[in-house]
Amino acid sequence: MDKILREDIHIISQNSNLSKEQMEQALREHVYPNETDWLKMIRLFVLSLGIGFSVAGIIFFFAYNWDDLSRFTKIGLTQALVIVSTGIVLIPKIDLLIRRIVLTAASILVGVLFAVYGQIYQTGANAYDFFLAWTISITLWVLVADFAALWLLYVFLINLTFVLYSEQVARDWNEDFILFVLFLFNASAHIAAIFNNHRKNSVVSPAWFTNILALAAFFFATNSYLSAIDDSKEEFNLALVFAPLFYGLAVWYSFKRKTIFYLASVAISLIVGISATVLIKNESSSSIFLFLCFFIVAAVSLAIIFLIRLQKEWANEKS
């Protein structure tokens, strides 16, 4: 028997003589959480509050005592936090999920440690040095933990390190190149995550993780294109080759896995790209804006028609 959802109960209720008591009973049996669900939620909520408040308290404590502490105490305390949290991760009796969450917290504390070190010794390092050191230091933990939230932090740090490097060191890099590299990196990370999901005996990444990576790739691909259509630029933008390849892969994967997420993302990206092209290549006039208004409505409507039809076909195939 398929899982009965809230919408099923609502539809049945609106088109039958189902009483409100019967509807309430159906909701309790099939939709509302039971005792186990409540206990799980309460435990997770209480644990999150406990860790969250404690970590915040520690950060505030450091902020207060900062000027009065000696440099050895400052670094020692931060190192102790990192060591203790890593120690907790090594205790096998503790639930695996909790150990992964603690390792994520430890990874954040590594960043705090480097920030403290940089502040004490006034190393004069660029911000990118800090983020690069942070990224490299937690690499092994990221590989060992294989935890989506930690991977997301890692990918974010790599993106940030690269952007800061381009702003602070490689100032001669043009915008097209920077956007292309960011697109390439995020697209590769996304493809790697998808490949990993299909490997035997590997931990499957949650959908939210792969979707965020895909959105990042689409975002940078769209920005690359918008940068490329600027008339004044003479260099060829490599994104104009690789982005369509990625879009093609995304469409293929959508059909293979029967998910509309990638198709919708491609649609949004294309609509933004075409709208921007029309605006940039023509003088801004009222008629252009009116045309764009109708174009966007028509394009989005067609995309929705197509996606709904696909969803129906796939739903019928599954049954």
């Binding site: 009965i4 609106q14 039958s16 189902l18 959480p33 308290g57 505030f60 009222s286």
Partner: protein, 361 residues
């Protein structure tokens, strides 16, 4: 997306459960599934809203460049026409496909109306009342997910604007209490509301999510108003209502845990009151807890996520705004954190204790 076989299995299940006494209009059920299918996924909803917002921006660009804003009567007429057209499309077409067009026209219509009233230097209160009236009527006529949701946001935005403009904190507390009671009623009386009338059933989803967004926004503005307005209005008034509603929900949850003994109930209520007492001075925190509890009670994941994110923000904001030294704040936070961790380990031990007891000897 449900196939015909899946829908038939669901129908069969309900008929069997109610020993065939249940009379179902199967054609109407299939038609409802057909209509609702396009709204099922978040992706389609996001695409619709994205299209609506982007096309509205393009239309605003058209209005500015064509200098149409110079005629207030022209803008008002255009605005009313577009809103009417949006409602007509939604009511006549009965198709999910034209949602994007409907939403775009709806938003643009309100923008045109707003611009025309701004040109005429209309009194601010009148401006808001017109918007509220139009939005309520529109929600009642359209009865579709996104237009009704946007209408709820327009109503709540207008109410907030009226209160901020009047700098009347008492009205803000009344509004917050209204949202809290409305949200609790909407979640707890779901079956009553949905089965009461088809109109209520159609408006249930958009009003539910609209109320949550409106409540979070009102909590935010309440905090800001207390900060900027030098007023002796106590901040805790709405918190008392929130805490009472949380207690009421907890009493409902007792039935899930089959806690029947009065002594147990009293102990749990007293413990919770003690835990919630510090949040009385921070209505945003108790407000978010009310959202989280309501959404979990009814298994509404979207609202639950919004509640959790808002809770994290408001707790951070609260501690940031406290006029204590950083040392005092840090000790308060650590003490609170340790209390929760102790509670977690007590709960964890009791879970393991129950698992050991339930295992065969």
């Amino acid at each position: 997306m449900k196939s015909l076989e899946q829908i038939n299995r669901i129908l069969e299940y309900f008929k069997t459960k109610h020993h065939d006494s249940l009379e179902i209009n199967e054609e109407a059920v299939l038609a409802s599934y057909e209509k609702s299918e396009g709204h099922q996924t978040l992706t389609i909803k996001v695409l619709s809203i994205f299209g609506g917002i982007l096309s509205s921006l393009a239309f605003v660009g058209f209005i500015i460049l064509a200098e149409l804003y110079e005629s207030s009567s022209g803008m008002a007429t255009l605005g009313l026409l577009l809103i009417s057209l949006a409602l007509w499309i939604n009511s006549k077409a009965k198709s999910t496909i034209l949602d994007t067009l409907g939403i775009s026209l709806f938003i643009i219509g309100f923008i045109c109306l707003g611009v025309s009233m701004a040109i005429e230097h209309t009194d601010f209160d009148t401006f808001c009342y017109v918007f509220i009236l139009l939005a309520i009527v529109s929600a009642g006529i359209a009865q579709t997910l996104i237009i009704s949701f946007v209408s709820v946001l327009i109503v709540s935005g207008s109410l907030l604007t009226l209160i901020i403009e009047s700098e009347n904190l008492e009205k803000m507390h009344i509004l917050l209490c209204f949202y809290a009671v409305a949200i609790t009623a909407v979640f707890v009386w779901e079956s009553w509301i949905v089965s009461a009338s088809p109109i209520f059933a159609r408006l249930y989803k958009p009003v539910k999510i609209g109320l949550i967004f409106s409540f979070v926004a009102a909590l935010f503005m309440n905090g800001k108003m207390h900060w900027f307005i030098n007023n002796k209005e106590p901040i805790w008034r709405s918190s008392v209502v929130f805490v009472l509603l949380i207690m009421a929900l907890v009493l409902l949850v007792f039935s899930v845990f089959k806690i029947n003994k009065s002594s147990h109930k009293i102990i749990v209520v007293l413990l919770l009151l003690t835990a919630l007492a510090p949040t009385v001075l921070a209505p945003a925190i108790s407000g978010c807890m009310l959202i989280i509890l309501n959404c979990f009670y009814a298994n509404y994941k979207t609202g639950f996520s919004i509640g959790v994110l808002a809770f994290i923000y408001y707790v951070g904001q609260y501690y940031y705004d406290l006029s204590f030294t950083l040392l005092t704040k840090s000790l308060m936070l650590i003490a609170t954190g340790v209390l929760f961790l102790v509670l977690y380990f007590l709960l964890w031990k009791s879970k393991n204790g129950q698992q050991v007891e339930s295992q065969p000897a």
